[in-house]
Symmetry: C2
Subunit: 216 residues, 2 copies
């Protein structure tokens, strides 16, 4: 008999203008506090102060600290999947090399939009054990990417699911490592090339070439 999981949702919907403003202020304050001292130093009181509200108000919208952090994380992860899903649709039926390049670009670009936030939210995910959120997003990514891979014109995959997950997760380690190291921007361009090489090589190695007359 385990306790019912708290839904990672705001307790109250922003029906009124004032509360909408309050919620925005809280999110913004949370990012600021995260950037200053990381998750470990983040305190609900600090967030409330920075947002210009009292702790009580914060708890009116977010039943606890983890829900607040989870909601922020979800916002960011949704941006990422949506970008990936858009690319997957746009490049349906493209050639493998082109699709691989595009997916690497999209993924790297979202992460580079605000590197510090990406890094901070990464610790947040672990700190709050956001397995649900992360798995939901991962699932959506898998679906989008595997269907894109399946639609590729010149190649056919036999272990599609396995390949999809290895492909997508293999990008995370390198990107994470470089984001943490905070190298000059040019280094990320070299990383981009390497990641394209990595994914193209792997995806080719785990698929077979299709001859033009697939349907006779």
């Amino acid at each position: 008999m385990r306790k019912v999981k708290l839904a990672l949702k705001p307790r109250k919907l922003p029906v009124q203008a004032r509360s909408k403003h309050t919620i925005d202020a809280i999110f913004e304050a949370t990012i600021q506090v995260l950037l200053v001292g990381g998750v470990n130093k983040l305190t609900t009181t600090k967030v409330a102060d920075r947002a210009g509200v009292s702790v009580g108000t914060l708890y009116q919208y977010f039943p606890n600290k983890n829900v607040l952090l989870g909601a922020l994380l979800e916002l960011h992860l949704l941006e990422v999947v949506e970008a990936i899903e858009a690319s997957c649709l746009k490049f349906r039926g493209a050639k493998l090399d082109l699709l691989a390049k595009e997916l690497v670009d999209v993924y790297l670009n979202v992460k580079l939009r605000s590197p510090e936030v990406s890094v901070a939210l990464y610790s947040v995910a672990v700190a709050i054990e956001a397995i649900e959120i992360v798995q939901a997003i991962t699932k959506r990514t898998q679906v989008a990417v595997s269907s894109a891979l399946e639609s590729v014109l010149d190649r056919q995959f036999d272990e599609l699911d396995m390949v999809t997950i290895v492909f997508t997760t293999s990008l995370m380690g390198p990107i994470q490592a470089f984001l943490l190291a905070k190298p000059p921007k040019a280094v990320f361009e070299r990383l981009r090339m390497q990641l394209q090489a990595l994914t193209k090589a792997y995806l080719k190695a785990s698929s077979v070439k299709i001859t033009a007359n697939k349907i006779p």
Copy 2:
């Protein structure tokens, strides 16, 4: 003028038998508490209780909770690098395919030795922001692996450093993802094949073949 970082070392060396036993008990208790509830639920009091000592004693050996967790993390990471370093030496001058296979095997095998502990320690690393420890280990890994890659008989790398880091970090994402998913053991064997394919394909794509008469 920033505060001096606390060295992540025990405060006191185990000069006497009793304290050696105490430290062992504390480490063991820490693992147990971690496995039960993860880092977030880990409490110094719980650890002390489980180890059969008082909190005060715990703090005599570990100046704070993060040092305790850091020391445990370091123990595990040292096991990992040492295994990798050993393989790198053993396979000096081997052919690329063989080296790649070996490194994937070694890395996966250490992680699979106690999967739950691996997962738990992963959250620990993020929770305590163990950047120093992780970077030191990463550095050692890079040195060992890049020198092994350089010694490969049949291939030559031009962007050796970049390739080394992408190669090693690209394994982490997939392994992490599968460890979290806790699939049946057989799935890890399929993962092993995929990771071998991934690394072989990438390492080949980023190197050139050497003809036999390197020195005429």
